[in-house]
Symmetry: none
Subunit: 225 residues, 4 copies
Amino acid sequence: MTGSQRRSRGKKAAEQAEPVATGTPASQRELRAQGRRTMGKLLDAGMKVFAERGYHAARVDDIVRAARTSHGTFYLYFTNKEDLLRALAVRCADELDALAEHIGPITADDAGLAEVRAFLAGFLDVYERYGPVIRAWMEGQVSDREVNRLGLRAFMRIGNRLRERMREAGGADRAELDARVGVLMAMLERFNYFYSSRDLGLDREATLDTLARIAHRGFFEAAAA
Amino acid sequence: MTGSQRRSRGKKAAEQAEPVATGTPASQRELRAQGRRTMGKLLDAGMKVFAERGYHAARVDDIVRAARTSHGTFYLYFTNKEDLLRALAVRCADELDALAEHIGPITADDAGLAEVRAFLAGFLDVYERYGPVIRAWMEGQVSDREVNRLGLRAFMRIGNRLRERMREAGGADRAELDARVGVLMAMLERFNYFYSSRDLGLDREATLDTLARIAHRGFFEAAAA
Amino acid sequence: MTGSQRRSRGKKAAEQAEPVATGTPASQRELRAQGRRTMGKLLDAGMKVFAERGYHAARVDDIVRAARTSHGTFYLYFTNKEDLLRALAVRCADELDALAEHIGPITADDAGLAEVRAFLAGFLDVYERYGPVIRAWMEGQVSDREVNRLGLRAFMRIGNRLRERMREAGGADRAELDARVGVLMAMLERFNYFYSSRDLGLDREATLDTLARIAHRGFFEAAAA
Amino acid sequence: MTGSQRRSRGKKAAEQAEPVATGTPASQRELRAQGRRTMGKLLDAGMKVFAERGYHAARVDDIVRAARTSHGTFYLYFTNKEDLLRALAVRCADELDALAEHIGPITADDAGLAEVRAFLAGFLDVYERYGPVIRAWMEGQVSDREVNRLGLRAFMRIGNRLRERMREAGGADRAELDARVGVLMAMLERFNYFYSSRDLGLDREATLDTLARIAHRGFFEAAAA
DNA sequence: GATGAATGAGATTTCATTCAT
DNA sequence: TATGAATGAAATCTCATTCAT
């Protein structure tokens, strides 16, 4: 439970960019087909177990059991439980970046609404898959700086994109935009959190419709109104 | 294993209406002055340590050290770290309830704005003091059902009060109100979280002003506009 | 559970026959009415709790709770949990001695059978009341020499009396008598143990009849037959 | 608290016919040579320490020290001290069953006497090796139902076999047989207990001779006489 | 006499990580 | 590459006994 802040060799191994010999328990190494398969299994298992138990409560043992592999193998691919989280965080950040990339202009008409809805759907989708990772970011459960930075950057990228789209939509000064972005992101994160963690029996599509309408009106169309 | 065949306090306490004997590691017991003082010290220490380390990372050892008492004493008052959290949660829920109670009508004028600001200030205040407890609720870190229920109920009470005030402010149907409440609460929680956990150098009063303005305009005056 | 062999001050206090000042946590002291009452409550509570949980599992806490008194009070009357056991052992040994005293001649006729039955009934009675104490003797759970000696002596006294009665009944040499006594005592103890610990639904009177018949025939009448 | 939401081994083991993963702190697992060796060491150490200190007083720490292994390792093989006892109990029950199996017909002649003696020798042998386990049964020190059942069943199996042999020897009705079996078993258990726990300087062979003679005459030949 | 409170040594248990094969 | 086994530091919890009113 609290035992995660013991050894700290992991960080060392990550910081030193030294040539990785075989047997080095780091994750950057040339992997053959089998190796890639095993690593994949571990990543998947990590997602699953983090989702079930949360990052903290997840034991390495749970993960290797879920991956149908052994303890030793885990440390062949990751230095740490944290290292595994880091790997997942990278994946998640990539997906969020892609999401940010795809946010098109948000007009005041139905096309704009559709755009907002598409973005929200994408975000919810990522959140559903990477919930535990994102939660670990938000809740600062992780001591590892890098992981937190990753999360912050990914969120900021989305935030910046949204700010840009709001700016295009017009009628708000810099400070107002900052505030709106902050509120929207906070709202988004929390909503997704509740949606994907507690099972409140909401209809996904309907919920997205409502959310999109609120966001569209409240954050983009507001000035126009 | 061996701890399970103990205690029949429940029955006893029912049969005899006298104060339960010493040694009962529960928190409901007749306490003398000294006992109350010690319990207070432990509660305070719990707040402090949870704040510093987070609920999970906090060790009972840290808490008793902070309370300048012994390990054994802790278990004289609480069965668990969780039990301590529960006690704090009750306190916090009480304060939140009191807060909900005091939310007056929110008019469209400056008086309404002041009311909103007062509420937000109260909320931030509670959050600053009980942050770790509330976070433990929100993040579902606690397995204990009761604790989670406590948190949920306290939040709902505030939410309901706010909905009522919005309804009075007029111009929104049931669904709209639900949505607004959800968004407002999410926003509130997340904002307070960031404000009180990370130390982003914000000026408290100015921040409250801004937040109050946004909330007043966005959630209460909206229909009027 | 295993914590009983910690401090060993108890023994010291018992070995030294020094004048007992008031406040001395020993059990030999002039007691007023109230004191005797409290001590009685503790002894009774001890019996009860030892019976329920067994000597080892019994916690001082359970005992004081059962006696409706406090921790501090316990140590005002006994130096130890073991000291309490010792006190009970003395009582029990006294009753066994009285029992031995009353074993009359055992003839081959019905009068002899009745005598055997009376003895068995008496023994069962003591066992039912002092079971845990006797068990603590038999099972050598107690490190305290004195307690064990007490038990041994009490059993031997009964054994000797029975040997004497067997000898009178005639037809057995010394070795044979020794063997019979040993077997009879073992049988007796074990039987009573099972009878009073497990609740096998036996009828008390019928069981005593059978047991008496077996013992009478097997141990006293044997040579005659 | 946290230990309870773990392990779903049962299900797993059923779904997949492969060996359960490491880390499962149970004793039913595919073990390699080394694992079997370690488990053996722990079982042996358990026997030794239970014998020296008794089940209750034995600390896991003593056991791992005796087995020259680590604390963690113990919990890799057994969930508990009790779990270790259970494992030993199974072994012991098996040996007792084998013993019961081998009790041949008990005739009134010297062959019968030899048979009785062989059985008694076997029983004493098992008792000498598994004394602490059997004592834990008899003294009901263990809360675990299963362990107690094991012991009861093993004893009953022997008892039933003996009853059968007595019945063949003839001349006793059902009730009489029940009584004899009860007495014989009680006597046996207690005798062995005293013999193997206290070191009363008895000659093993001579003692067995005497005991065999008594038992043969008293329980099997009695009716014939 | 009586009591509630405090203590702290010691026992159990967990789990991330390393090792030997 | 893969694996089962081992480790041990750290955390939790218990309870006999002492202390201060």
